[in-house]
Symmetry: C2
Subunit: 324 residues, 2 copies
Amino acid sequence: MSASRMRLIVSVPGGIGNFGPGLDVLGCALTGARDEVIAEWSKIAGITIIDAGHPQLPTDPAKNTASIAAAAVMRVAASRGVRMPNPGIAFTIKKGLPLSGGQGGSAASAVAGAVAANALIWPVDSGLNSGLTQNELLACALEGEEAVAGRHLDNIAPSLLGGIVLVRSLDPIEVVKIPAPENLRIVLVTPAQQLTTTKSRSVLPTEVPRSIVVHQLAQVAAIISACHSGDLALLGRAMDDRIAEPARNPLLPGFADAKQSALIAGALGVSISGAGPTAFALCDSEITSAKIGQAMRSAYARAGLDCTVRICEVDTQGAIVKDA
Amino acid sequence: MSASRMRLIVSVPGGIGNFGPGLDVLGCALTGARDEVIAEWSKIAGITIIDAGHPQLPTDPAKNTASIAAAAVMRVAASRGVRMPNPGIAFTIKKGLPLSGGQGGSAASAVAGAVAANALIWPVDSGLNSGLTQNELLACALEGEEAVAGRHLDNIAPSLLGGIVLVRSLDPIEVVKIPAPENLRIVLVTPAQQLTTTKSRSVLPTEVPRSIVVHQLAQVAAIISACHSGDLALLGRAMDDRIAEPARNPLLPGFADAKQSALIAGALGVSISGAGPTAFALCDSEITSAKIGQAMRSAYARAGLDCTVRICEVDTQGAIVKDA
């Protein structure tokens, strides 16, 4: 790539937040649909949005997750006295991920915004290895995510880094990459149902009984062990979320049936992706994943809901910077 | 070993339960002190205790953790129609671990009792690989532990298997061995203070705020990752228990000072072992462990408490059956 780019594209995967029992702490990037931000220098100060990528997304830079994240990067650059060739950056957003529904779309756009601004301001070989540190990029992307979906990094971190990521701490930010087991297939099913993150978070319990806490601690620990050892059956058994899933189940018509149907079709484990309504099922082969997709589609149909089905693997690339 | 032993010795390590934030789910066996059970066939039906190993320990087989566990094994043998050469088993217990205090003594004796009965009844090459399955042995030992310390396997499982062990599920029993990082040194400090497990458990919160749950999930996940990757610094940072430690701190004079002093002396992380009052500190070298031991001893002395200090490694052997 040229040393002084005027224009570039950042492509970022979505994925699963609240990975099973890993409420707010475990996320997984997925292959397939991605959000893109085309960024170019602009004579207009700050971040401008030429195209928000969808009629329902705000073009007001103070409200769009990508521009909020990018503005945070510009603020850091200004605080370090970086001389920019132009007063502002203009974004054209291409929304490959759904606007909402639990596929990590807001996080992907926030990461794309932060990485795009970083790569434009610090134009060296790799946008990710120059300018801001990984944790600074996460902090800037978090500003964007926080404005629309809440203060958590479990979608942000895998969207930036790829793979399965544990958020050990938010203050200070510390994330840990966890190996993704080979052969893991993820069936992502989004029923045609409106459910806001705000509504979905509002039903989470403010207090959790200690026996449930102990259960949840054990499952999250088992997930990490299973990822390291490649034990997919253990990974599946550990997808036993007793905090968010029981609370959200009443908001999700068809989910309980879809889960049961997926397990019968060979899924190793099933849970809700992010704040829902997207559900995900884990399995170990292409053939089984197709059966699971069919079974879940039929289950949602019985609840009167159409759905989209994606068969994915764990995305290992994370955010990518390309010449435009 | 002979194929029809009349007498054998089982030696079992103690260790840390509630390993840091891993309340009831993570434990670690430690080198050094061990409990032993000498078991021999007896004309008296059931389990008899010739010597309980300490004046304060019950010789009534219905109340002693080792004999309760062994009786559970005999019950399984009887239910399978195993013909035993004698109607009963007699135990001579040698108590190397403290009776209480958070070093896993009750669990070690329970495991020793179960393994001893198993090895005597099914006399093949290795007592652990014959007769009861691993999970059946855990269930029998759990009966002993439950009678004196509560229904949890976080001390039982590492005492049987050695190493660091995750208890994913109690019903059904499922435990997962986690690799122990090389170079890990554990400083185990027991102040001369009486604190019953009952009292120590009674102060645990029945409900936990969700923000604390999220924190605790992240730390337990980080511990597992750190053990797999050998990242001792991460392991230390993850020893940040915000459920049991804050609740028990008021019961533990000197602990807060000892923790702070250990961290200043180079400890990577410090927490309470089991239900306390034993504290443990993690570090990565022999020299640092000695410094930490000194610093913690001084801190407890300032609180008017003598203490015993043990420098340990992770025990990787677990329960051992030997000829008597």
